[in-house]
Amino acid sequence: MKKLVVVLLALIAVAASPVKNGFEVGDTAIDFKLKNVDGKMVSLADYKDAKGYIVIFDCNTCPYSKAYNQRIIDLNTKYAAKGVPVIAINANDPNVSSGDSFEEMVRIAKKKDYKYPYLVDETQEIAKAYGATNTPHVFVLSKDLKVTYIGAIDDNSSKADAVTKRYVEDAVDALLQGKAAPTTKTKAIGCGIKWKSA
C-alpha cells in the first residue's frame, strides 16, 4: 500500500511539473550552427574572445523589428567592441510571411550594412529551444551561455528618445561588471513569430 502511494505521488509530481518551454534566466542556453546572410555557417563558439552574446530573434517584416532596427544596430556598435556582439536570428516561416525569405534577409542586411550576423533558423528549432515568441525577442547570454536576461530591448517601442529603461544595455553592462542583470525578464507587445503550420 505504502509503495502504491509513493508511486502515485511520483506520478502526480511528474504530471504536475510544467512542460519546459524554452530557457529561463539562469539556464544554460544551447549553441547553434545557422546560415548567415553571407552564406557562411555561424556558431556562438566561433567568437573565441566573446565575453557574452546578445542573441536577438528578429525578422524583416514586423513593425516592431523595424522600429527597433536602428537600436539593434546601435547595440552591436556599442557592445561588439566590448566583447558582447549582437547575433540576430530570423525564425519566421517565409511560407507564412513572404517578406522573410532568405533573399530578403540578404537584401536588408546589405542595405542596412549589418555588422553582425543575421542568421536564418529554417527549422525553427533554435527559436523553439530558446522559447522565443516575439520579434524582436532578446536573450542576453554570458560567455558560458548562461541566460542573464530575456525580453524587450527597452520600455518604449514607439519612441527611442522617450525610453526610460534600457533593459538590454543594463543587462550587458552588468554582465561586463560580473554582476546580475538589474531586470532579468520583461514582456513587450510585438509580432508573434510566424511558425510553420503543423
Partner: protein, 156 residues
Amino acid sequence: MLFALFGVILSVATSAQTINQIKLKDLQKLLTTKTDRVQVINFWATWCAPCVKEIPLFEKLKTDNSNIDITLVSMDFDLDPDPAKVERFVSRKGLKNKVVILAETDPNSWIDKIDKSWSGALPATLIVNTQTGKRKLVQKELHEGDLEKLITEVSN
C-alpha cells in the same frame, strides 16, 4: 442627385462606431465582472497581418451567437498613438463588433495583469467565463471553428 450622395456619405459617417480608449482597469473589469455571457477578447493591431486575417471569424461569431460579448482590443497605441488609424480601419472593414483602443504605455508593467501566460505577441485571444473564472488564452491566429470550440470549453 447631390443630396442623395450627401445622404449616403452621412449614413456611412453615422454608422461608424465611436472607438473608446480604455485603460487597463477597464479591461480588468471586463475580465472579472460576473455576467452569464462568455467574454471573448481579441488583442489585435492594424499592422498585424494574422490579426486582420482572423477578424472575420469574430464578426461571424457576433451574428451567430448572442450568449457572448466580443471586444476587439486594438494594441496599436503601443507603436503609434494615432486613433484615426484605427478608426479608418474599422470603418473601412465595416466592423460590427465593439472595438476599443488600449491606451497604456510600458507594456511590461501590465501584460501579466491581463494574463500571466501571455508573451505579449499578437494576435492573442482570451476567452473567459466570468462566473467560474475558467479562461483560455490562444496566442496564435485562429481558424474556422476554433472560437466555437473554445467557448464550449469555458462554458462547461
